[in-house]
């Protein structure tokens, strides 16, 4: 009986595992197909579709745009998140409770609603779409994570350690540099990487903010998919999976992936 349940359990878990990796595995495999249409299992092996990706300047420029905006989002989120986390954790100031409430509220609002809200607000403000508006739009998605991770780091810091450093002769800036900052470093790195991935991956908000000559990579792929069914997309997909794997390895080293996703985080779709 127990043996049977164990075997059944193992088989079930394997099936779930297959289900989880199916779309990625199939994408990667079929990027090698020699056929001019996507098929699985792939027929023949070629790297032609990868060459195709690099031969298309619009994909490269979209990648550059996405990567640039994502890098900026990561940097700004880290800085804003650090400052905001410090303010919330150890200062009283007018609006502190409201800021905290907004931070958690931001998780609950559907991204599509944020997207259309930003579209209408930017239009009302007369802001033309540009990489900067895209960055601003992404910050709303990424800063809450950064603040939250910084707060988690600060919660784990013994305030006595800062007192100890001051007592040993460290002026406030050096206390911050040698004691406070190392405590939030993990959260900061995690928050920055998370911001990068969120921004790089975002389609929903970008769809509302972009114009035809300003397309992020997800938007470009999304539009390409509507008309073409050749394996170029699977090649891009494979490259992006590789990219994600690298990011995961780095995050895992610094913070641990599971910690990034609390049970109540949210898909940005």
């Amino acid at each position: 009986m127990t043996r049977l349940t164990r075997v059944l359990g193992g088989a079930f878990a394997t099936l779930v595992g297959l289900f989880l990796i199916a779309p990625v595995a199939v994408t990667v495999a079929s990027s090698l197909t020699a056929t001019p249409y996507v098929t699985f299992p792939p027929q023949g092996i070629t790297l032609r579709w990868y060459a195709e990706v690099f031969a298309k300047p619009e994909f490269l420029s979209s990648f550059a745009l996405s990567a640039g905006v994502a890098l900026a989002a990561a940097a700004v989120s880290a800085v804003v998140g650090l400052a905001g986390g410090l303010a919330i954790h150890r200062h009283r100031f007018p609006g502190r409770a409201a800021l905290e409430a907004t931070l958690s509220g931001a998780f609950a609002v559907p991204t599509i609603v944020l997207g259309i809200g930003l579209l209408q607000w930017f239009a009302q403000m007369g802001l033309a779409s540009s990489p900067v508006t895209l960055l601003l739009a992404h910050l709303v998605l990424t800063v809450p994570y950064a603040v939250r991770l910084v707060l988690a780091g600060l919660a784990g810091l013994d305030r006595s350690a800062e007192k100890a450093a001051a007592g040993l002769g460290a002026p406030p800036f050096l206390v911050f540099w040698h004691v406070t900052l190392p405590a939030v470093r993990g959260g900061l790195v995690g928050g920055a990487f998370f911001a990068f991935i969120t921004s790089f991956d975002d389609l929903t908000v970008a769809l509302f903010v972009v114009t035809t000559d300003l397309q992020t990579l997800p938007v470009r792929i999304f539009n390409y998919m509507q008309y073409d069914y050749d394996p170029t997309v699977t090649a891009i997909g494979t490259l992006m999976v590789l990219f994600a794997v690298v990011a995961v390895v780095v995050i895992e080293r610094f913070v641990g992936v599971a910690r990034l996703f609390g049970a109540d985080t949210e898909e940005r779709s």
Binding site: L20, P23, V26, G84, A87, P110, I197, D201, G237, S269
Partner: protein, 291 residues
Amino acid sequence: MAAVGRVAGGARVSRPRRRTGLLLALPAILIFVLLFLAPLGTLVANSFRTQTGAFTLGNYARFLGDPFYRDVLWNTLRVAALTTAGCLLIGYPFALYLRGRSARVRNWLALLLLSPLLISMVIRAYGWLVVLGPQGPVAAVIRWFGLTPPQMLYNDTAVLIGMVHVMLAYMVLPLMGSLDRIDPTLVPAAKGLGASGWTCFWRITLPLSAPGMLAGAMIVFSLTASSFVTPAILGGPKVKLMPYFVYTQATATLDWPYAAAIGFVLVVVTTGLLLGYSRLLRRGRGEVVFA
């Protein structure tokens, strides 16, 4: 000495320190006021306007009065509920399976579970297009049996599969948390009292993991109801879901007030659910027991 715990935070709250706090928080405050509250405010305001700017309740009247859009709302809730059920059906046994494994196996399976969230949404959905498409592995297997593969894309089922795939992690993680908190001596104790394995599951494990199930279900439901990318790619225009209509009204029809109204209804549905859940949690002190 409680008083001393507040040393730097509380004791020295003089005016300059309050100013430091405000200064540090200012960038975050600006971002949320200018890029979160203002857009949402604009959205709500616009939803009560006609295309020309006059005040109206017409957008909401139109949404609730048109059987087509009532259908969209209904279908959104239905797909969200089905996704939730699917996640529970697959996720619960999976969480139970994970419970008995070593830390190493658990870590690897957790990473596998999270992997869909780490891979670009567009690519992930595209992968399902390939898997379920006419040239994909599923169709190949069906053909191998000598049958004609049915159309597996651009319908509710395709959306359901894609959504369960992404959402599974949101269900399993809280479930694992709940299962881990169950006192491991309870089941042997019940068995000692003569309960069968099955009875133990129904009377002990299942009720005690209810908080995790509820948390997972709420998150999955509200996230699915507000998802756009996966349904748009796998379902297309034929699968009528609210986020898709927010998008088309805003970008194709260019009826911003109406798009705003649909969006606002979506916010009410999803946040209402989350608020209700947190209220429920607070009342039950986190312990929700099956009646």
